[in-house]
């Protein structure tokens, strides 16, 4: 191949497809009285219990619900949880 020839070289990178974007869920006007789900995927066995303990102590009027998993896949919420949960805190760890 001649050294000075100009070549068209192709792009090896993957393709970002268009994505339908959803707005974030409405924020809470206050914490007290709300149902907040703490969901821990691939849970860190140190930080998540400490977080739950602290939240329950600092915010006793919140209904804290904990859904724990040690798996790498996401935790699904049940239809009932979707209906009755005001906010979610999702922990991601490995």
């Amino acid at each position: 191949m001649p050294r000075d020839r100009v070549y068209k070289c192709l792009n090896p990178t993957g393709i970002q497809e268009p994505v339908d974007v959803e707005p974030l869920a409405p924020r809470l006007d206050r914490l007290d009285g709300k149902n907040i789900l703490i969901s821990a995927q691939e849970a860190d066995p140190v930080i998540m219990p400490a977080l739950v303990e602290r939240l329950k102590s600092d915010f006793p009027k919140v209904n804290w619900r904990v859904k724990d998993s040690h798996e790498t896949s996401s935790i699904s919420m049940t239809p009932e949880e979707m209906e009755t949960t005001d906010a979610v805190i999702q922990g991601v760890a490995w």
């Binding site: 191949m1 050294r3 000075d4 020839r5 100009v6 070549y7 068209k8 070289c9 192709l10 792009n11 090896p12 990178t13 993957g14 393709i15 970002q16 497809e17 268009p18 994505v19 339908d20 974007v21 959803e22 707005p23 974030l24 409405p26 924020r27 809470l28 006007d29 206050r30 914490l31 907040i36 691939e42 849970a43 066995p45 140190v46 930080i47 219990p49 400490a50 977080l51 602290r54 939240l55 600092d58 724990d68 998993s69 040690h70 798996e71 790498t72 896949s73 906010a87 805190i89 922990g91 760890a93 490995w94």
Partner: protein
């Protein structure tokens, strides 16, 4: 990675806080609890309220124009990455020079398949496992197989990008492949080329079927070593596709803490189907395909990069020939001629601190024949025997470092009992080599010497790493 996952999930503005990885729990919580709570209560910005469709900028098909020397420099560009010690990390390559993917070379490469260049990579078959009638294939994500039906568009992790046949061909050119290798590379692409995270995930590919002879794969002496164009370049494509099609960059979104030597240059090999003892099936038939069909098994496993050399070949011959030496003493067959079940010798230590970690035994044809002569009429019979040997009391299993991860902290269902792990009595016996015998694997190949290596098995967290049809991509 977080931003990209959020985008591909349709919530690019998701609020998050970082949490420290080390230290006492209460101290770590102090570091992020306030900003975390603000995430729940601070009003949404206009951007966060946006609903619509994200359309990325159009991608250039021609990435660079210039001389070959200039192009080589362009494709080898690097960027310093903090977590690698600010070392330069390649953007488009595995760190080695590549064949520049000129338009002409990519066109030549595309002659290796009947598929159109603009066809999007999607799953080609519903056959993927041992029981082909009931088990669909899947794609790999984070080292775990996700079952998906035929036709599912493949997303390459971690960026969840897609690819066309031409994109795969570009990477095959860069790796140095010949056009006749392309169907194998396309089958590998079907896996999504996951790289997973943290522990030393090793990615490797085993080809099983007639195509290995057609393209000249080394199935004998040094089959994992250097020197064979097909094995070397096809293995390299996995890593180039992970980098380019999946966007996996060490220290950015590919967080293999130490990494694996298998991944530096890529690892592909093929099974020696002619070396199988009579009656033993190849990987292709084991996984639901016919003997005349070719498949690629893609494994991304964190368990065993490669271990072996537990005995000298001469010691093995002493065992089988006249019951001589240390192996014979351990097996209690001193003075007795073989065949002896040499796998018994491997057992101590196989699962000593690797509970529930299945293995692949890559064994030389001579050693497979000895197992057959001993009385194992199939690979499955060997695996069943080994798996049954691996049962340990659940009291011991709970002491392993993968216990929580593999049992969902004890609330998952243990397969042989149908009960939750945490509810099992201490003396209940559970397998330490995978949840089923078939999580483990036997591949026959290598030279005429007496050597066996162990790699990670074809199952790890759940299910079995899938195989992909190569013939579907011819």
């Amino acid at each position: 990675m977080l931003h990209q996952t959020a985008l591909s999930s349709g919530v690019p503005q998701i609020r998050y806080v970082d949490a420290p990885r080390f230290g006492p729990g209460a101290q770590r919580v102090n570091a992020f609890i306030e900003p975390m709570l603000k995430c729940l209560t601070d009003p949404l910005t206009d951007e966060e309220k946006h609903k619509g469709r994200y359309v990325p900028p159009a991608q250039k098909r021609v990435l660079f124009e210039g001389t070959l020397q200039e192009a080589q420099a362009f494709y080898q560009q690097t960027k310093p990455i903090l977590l690698t010690g600010r070392a330069p990390i390649a953007r488009y390559t595995d760190g080695l020079p590549i064949i520049v993917p000129t338009q002409e070379l990519v066109e030549e490469m595309l002659a290796g398949t009947s598929h159109k260049p603009d066809e999007v990579i999607a799953l080609q078959s519903d056959r993927g496992g041992q029981d082909s009638s009931s088990r669909p294939t899947g794609v790999m994500s984070g080292g775990v197989e996700r079952i998906r039906p035929k036709g599912t568009v493949v997303q390459f992790t971690p960026m969840n990008w897609t690819a066309t046949v031409e994109k795969v061909a570009i990477n095959a050119v860069m790796a140095g492949c010949k056009p006749e290798y392309l169907p194998v590379v396309l089958a590998i692409a079907e896996s999504g080329c996951t790289t997973a995270t943290t522990t030393h995930w090793s990615q490797w590919v085993c080809v099983s079927g007639p195509i290995s002879k057609e393209i000249g794969q080394n199935i004998g002496t040094g089959m994992l070593d250097c020197g064979n164009p097909a094995n070397s370049t096809i293995g390299r494509t996995y890593q180039l596709m992970a980098i380019n099609l999946g966007g996996a960059i060490p220290g950015v979104n590919r967080m293999n803490a130490i990494g694996s030597p298998f991944n530096r240059g890529g690892m592909c090999f093929a099974e020696n189907l002619d070396g199988l003892p009579k009656g033993w099936k190849g990987l292709n038939e084991e996984m639901g395909y016919r003997k005349d069909e070719s498949v690629a098994m893609i494994v991304c496993e964190p368990a065993v990069c490669c271990q072996g050399s537990q005995f000298a070949p001469s010691a093995y011959r002493g065992l089988q020939g006249r019951g001589y030496g240390g192996m014979a003493a351990r097996l209690g067959v001193e003075g007795k001629e073989g065949p002896h079940n040499w796998m018994e010798y491997l057992i101590p230590g196989l699962w000593s601190n690797r509970a529930d970690t299945p293995m692949t035994f890559l064994m030389a044809p001579r050693m497979a024949q000895d197992l057959k002569d001993y009385g194992f009429n199939s690979k499955q019979e060997v695996l069943d025997w080994l798996w049954k040997k691996s049962f340990i009391p659940v009291k011991e299993y709970r002491k392993y470092g993968w216990y929580d991860a593999k049992t969902s902290g004890g609330i998952g269902i243990q397969q042989t009992s149908g009960k939750r792990w945490k509810d099992l009595p201490d003396d209940y016996m559970v397998p330490a080599l995978g949840q089923k015998a078939f999580d483990n694997c036997i591949i026959v190949g290598g030279g005429p010497d007496e050597v066996c290596l162990e790699l990670g098995g074809r199952g790890f967290f759940s299910g079995i790493y899938p195989v992909y049809s190569i013939d579907a991509w011819r």
